[in-house]
Symmetry: C2
Subunit: 324 residues, 2 copies
């Protein structure tokens, strides 16, 4: 069996070996750039790991699941335009390094490069692998729309928020492990269990990501600390605080999130003070841990020997409790 670091190397190599239509270099430069500035390659690694649960041979899966990483980076390039984000993984975002038009177009071509990867799936799996991916791709777009809608919504409930991140983040992670299971030759029941495992992992992951925006180490996390607060993004922390804070604090929070502060630092400080008073960090961590517990419950039921699941369990543990 392969461990996480071996799988990451396999994915990195697959990305490095991608061949591109070279008739317009300017189109592909940003693609190579965004794929080169790192990232954990989480989706293809989890997919290969899921495949490896059932099968020692993972070769057929490598190029297709590389499409998951290309697609994920396509969404990052376009989301960064929409969010006017200047930094990603400690590097300039594509639209800030080039320009918005270039980021739109180079992003677009990545969607079709991802397709090209999926089209390398062996014929007997092509339809179900591609459908599983494509359903998730549409869900990611829907989730991003809800995320944008929430920015101008007066109130967002915890339920609405969880639905949004389920679509925007968890759906693709869930699809990734399910697709991996298909390549491994898993039975329907096991691939569904792994989908649920991935979904719960994705929910935990995003909730933790929200928390790290304020409480993470900026150097390791690779994003501007408090970026979500400054941008007025309604994260889980904000929604939870709005639910349990006093009415005076609620008003204060709402004011902070709606107005553009000249001093972002002051804004972050004021918001964090309210969060701290209500233990929002701990509440958020607890929710993330609940999802992880439920992810493990699904994984336990998958019909392979416990020893084969060790690497998957370890990766899941390392993702939660991460500071990046």
């Amino acid at each position: 069996m392969y461990n996480q670091s071996e799988l990451k190397k396999i994915v990195d190599r697959s990305i490095a070996n991608l061949s591109y239509n070279t008739e317009a270099e300017k189109l592909i430069d940003p693609v190579k750039y965004i794929l080169s500035i790192g990232g954990k390659r989480l989706r293809p690694v989890l997919a290969l790991m899921a495949c490896n649960l059932f099968n020692d041979k993972i070769n057929d899966a490598v190029i297709p699941v590389t499409g998951l990483e290309i697609f994920h980076n396509f969404t990052l390039v376009h989301d960064d335009i929409m969010d006017q984000a200047l930094v990603r993984r400690n590097f300039p975002t594509v639209h800030s390094k080039w320009n918005i038009n270039q980021a739109i177009l180079s992003g677009d071509v990545m969607a079709f490069i991802a397709n090209e990867c999926f089209l390398q799936t062996p014929p007997h799996l092509l339809s179900k692998v591609f459908r599983t991916f494509n359903k998730a791709a549409i869900e990611v777009c829907v989730g991003q729309q809800l995320d944008i809608d929430f920015e101008i919504a007066a109130i967002v409930s915890q339920e609405e928020y969880l639905k949004m991140i389920e679509l925007k983040t968890a759906a693709l992670l869930a699809a990734s492990v399910k697709i991996g299971a298909f390549f491994g030759g898993a039975e329907e029941k096991d691939s569904e269990l792994l989908y649920e495992f991935g979904k719960n992992l994705g929910l935990a992951f995003q909730i933790q990501d929200d928390m790290l925006d304020i409480y993470g180490d900026v150097k390791i996390f690779g994003k501007v600390s408090g970026g979500d607060v400054v941008a007025g993004k309604k994260t889980y922390l904000f929604i939870k605080a709005m639910e349990i804070a006093s009415s005076g604090q609620r008003k204060q929070l709402q004011e902070q999130f709606s107005k553009e502060y000249s001093e972002p630092e002051a804004k972050i400080k004021a918001v964090t003070a309210i969060y701290d008073q209500h233990n929002i960090k701990t509440i958020t961590e607890n929710l993330a841990n609940e999802y992880i517990k439920s992810a493990f419950t699904f994984l336990e039921k998958v019909g392979v020997q416990p020893a084969r699941k060790e690497e998957m369990i370890q990766v899941t543990r390392s993702l939660i409790g991460r500071d990046r």
Copy 2:
């Protein structure tokens, strides 16, 4: 056999019957809008017509080739952002009716709705249909990149220009008829001939489109007259004029195309005067006609009875000599 107007109705119905993920209406509203403001449905209609050359049954092809129209409209939504175009088919463009972020995201989801259509292809054709589409999709992005690059290039040769429109416009038309041929059960040789037919038709179509920007009837053409001139787009007319005009006129043309006029009317008038002096309209029409002739040569070689090709010939004729 079906005629063009019957096929257009079939495609319109297929578009009207599309089912969408309804969890975020705001995402889908612009999709419905851009698909509702008309257009000739040229790509799916030609695809169904190509299918119908070989086979009286076209049912299996309808939903998949609808993906060609969705993809085409996806490129229009994003291209209109890049070109800062305000009007499309006499209606406001998506980004001007909503905003740029919405146009990016609703455009994105169209790429995956197109995939969803192609995924309805029967298993024995899925791989070759999808690969043919996806190759063209990447070429369209490359063509759009070259189109953007040409805006800042000092000189663009006729050869470079023709390569650009081959990628940006002709590749998808070519893929459309080839995909249609696959659904009809055509032999490899015939599907390749139809690809070449579609490519030449696409080249003719785009060259004529360039011509109509200045010499078309604005009410029928549905775009602002001289829009390419005002935007400084190097069309075939400009490139040809730069090739044959006097050095004084070349300088004048270059100046007109590089500076932003406060009065677009004056700019269009000055440029048109130079074009007229060198018969650019006729030269352009002649080139379009040459490509049409060559399209017909490929169509003639396709191994079905001439009577079955009548509708395809008629559509091709109606496309050239159109004023919209």
